[in-house]
């Protein structure tokens, strides 16, 4: 399978559109960092005004760790689009170009081919997250320095000690890798049923947007649905920033996402094996 994986990776990274994601993430992160560098203190004063009316907050609230948290919060909603851009193209793109039938004439099983393509999509997803981690965490820390991390939630204000933050980011990026691989698996599954890549990309984003809206709306009927939507669990990385970490729900969410990855992948294999390839 390794040679096929190498070929698939070569195909992914040969396409210029693959790099759109890296450029987009780079541009957004740098813009956010620039904005915080120029106007960060005003933004913080505005964001904390409800708290500072009653409390004196001393210390460096605006630091690299906080900027990274804000970037993750902003970006992890949009990154699924960038992942769908590549994962949704894996099978549908080949079908669109008319190379899928030719590809399957090679002495490789359909399952191996699918696994290689999915592994390549996963590697791309992980590379995108590593790039994001490098920019959002490392560059932010270089520009803004480190310090305690203060997070404002609806229920409480959490202040994490500087020494207790870095491992949480590693864990959060690990969790984000599982969440984004779920998106890749969904997009990959939809790619099986399409003849061009626009369909799976748009479908993936539509499903994520719809599920996210259902996850966000605080209506009793939708609240009953929330635990069954994978988008509810995709923000489980935030659980690592509780003190102490609520391991049970975080690990539960990770398990549900892993289950979805296997479910989407197994469905992809079954559907692809039964598919009559005409293009």
């Amino acid at each position: 399978m390794l040679p096929i994986l190498q070929i698939e990776l070569f195909k992914i990274f040969k396409r210029p559109r693959t790099y759109i994601s890296f450029v987009a993430i780079g541009a957004i992160v740098v813009l956010i960092q620039l904005a915080f560098y120029a106007e960060g203190n005003n933004y913080m004063a505005f964001g904390l005004q409800s708290l500072t009316q009653s409390f004196d907050i001393q210390g460096k609230v605006l630091n690299g760790y906080l900027v990274c948290y804000i970037i993750l919060q902003t970006l992890l909603i949009h990154v699924p689009l960038l992942i769908a851009l590549v994962a949704g193209d894996q099978i549908a793109g080949e079908a669109n170009m008319g190379t899928l039938r030719l590809l399957l004439t090679k002495p490789v099983s359909r399952t191996s081919l699918l696994m290689a393509k999915f592994s390549a999509s996963t590697i791309y997803t992980l590379m995108l997250l590593v790039w994001m981690a490098f920019l959002a965490l490392l560059v932010s820390v270089l520009i803004f320095g480190t310090g305690d991390l203060m997070i404002l939630k609806s229920e409480e204000v959490v202040v994490l000690n500087k020494a207790d933050v870095l491992w949480r980011y590693f864990a959060a990026f690990g969790f984000a890798a599982i969440a984004m691989t779920t998106v890749a698996a969904l997009s990959f599954l939809l790619s099986i049923f399409a003849e061009n890549s626009i369909g799976p990309i748009v479908s993936t984003m539509s499903i994520i947007i719809l599920f996210t809206i259902l996850s966000t709306m605080d209506i009793p009927f939708f609240n009953a649905l929330k635990p069954y939507l994978f988008t509810t669990h995709m923000i489980g990385w935030k659980g690592f920033f509780d003190a102490p970490v609520s391991w049970s729900p975080v690990l539960g969410s990770a398990s549900i996402l892993v289950f979805h990855i296997f479910l989407f992948l197994a469905t992809s294999v079954i559907a692809f094996k039964r598919k009559d390839i005409l293009s």
Binding site: S50, L51, Q53, S54, F55, D56, I57, Q58, G59, K60, V61, Q73, I77, G147, D148, M150, L152, K153, S154, E155, E156, V157, V158, V159, L160, N161, K162, D164, T212, S215, T216, K226, P227, T232, I235, G236, K238, G239, D242, A243, S246, S248, P249, V250, G252, S253
Partner: protein
């Protein structure tokens, strides 16, 4: 019985008019004694550990440095970190509450707290622009140490401070300060970003609390009268 009531009333009036000035004099003298003790300290830097117990603030205990400079400059700093204190937290430092301010002291009797018989002093600020409306001090007359204060401010509600003394008692500086304030009226704003359901459940499972916030500082070391730069308090 009727015959007795008129002389009894006169006796009460007499005792009120004759004894009150003497007690007021005592209250002011005791306040002066407390202030004199505190004024031995022109400035200090103290190291200690701060613990915050507020239902909606989740912050670990941390090492802090506390700075004071006469008359009322007071600052708590967590090195390289974030500290959150209620506004008007100046009451944490007794020096900053009393130094450089004029009060009218009214005696409030005595209370027994543990082994200490404490004189109660009600302090009314003379200056109109003082943020404090009323302060009540519980003072041990023997050593002029303040063991408890209750301060009502114009803008920030009522604060209660308990003080424990040890090796720095001769300077009037406590080894431990326990600060209680009202948080029942405070509400955190609803978050605008998506929140993780697992975190929400964990927060909801916490006990509701009694509407009071508590901050304690346990001092390990004071550096007294060694000078502090003015820009430290900017």
């Amino acid at each position: 019985m009727k015959n007795l009531s008129i002389p009894l009333f006169c006796l009460c009036c007499l005792s009120f008019f004759c004894l009150s000035p003497a007690q007021a004099q005592d209250a002011n003298a005791l306040l002066a004694k407390v202030k004199a003790k505190l004024q031995q300290v022109d400035n200090y830097m103290a190291e200690g550990e701060m613990a915050t117990d507020v239902t909606f603030i989740n912050i670990a205990d941390s090492k802090v440095k506390v700075y004071f400079r006469q008359p009322d400059q007071f600052k708590i700093v967590k090195e390289d970190g974030i500290s959150i204190l209620p506004k008007g937290g100046m009451s944490v430092g007794l020096n900053s509450l009393l130094s450089g301010k004029e009060f009218i002291a009214v005696p409030g009797g005595y209370v027994q707290e543990g082994n200490n018989r404490l004189a109660v002093l009600k302090l009314l600020p003379v200056a109109e622009n003082n943020g404090v409306v009323l302060s009540t001090l519980y003072v041990n007359e023997k050593d002029a140490l303040v063991y408890r204060t209750i301060t009502t401010t114009k803008d920030n509600g009522t604060y209660e401070t308990s003080l424990q003394y040890g090796k720095y008692a001769s300077w009037g500086l406590p080894d431990k300060v326990f600060f209680v304030f009202n948080i029942s009226s405070y509400k955190l704003p609803k978050g605008v970003t998506m929140e993780y359901e697992g975190s929400k459940k964990a927060s909801a499972a916490k006990p509701a609390g009694d509407g009071k916030g508590r901050v304690s500082i346990t001092y390990s070391r004071y550096t007294i009268n060694k000078g502090l730069p003015a820009d430290l308090f900017k």
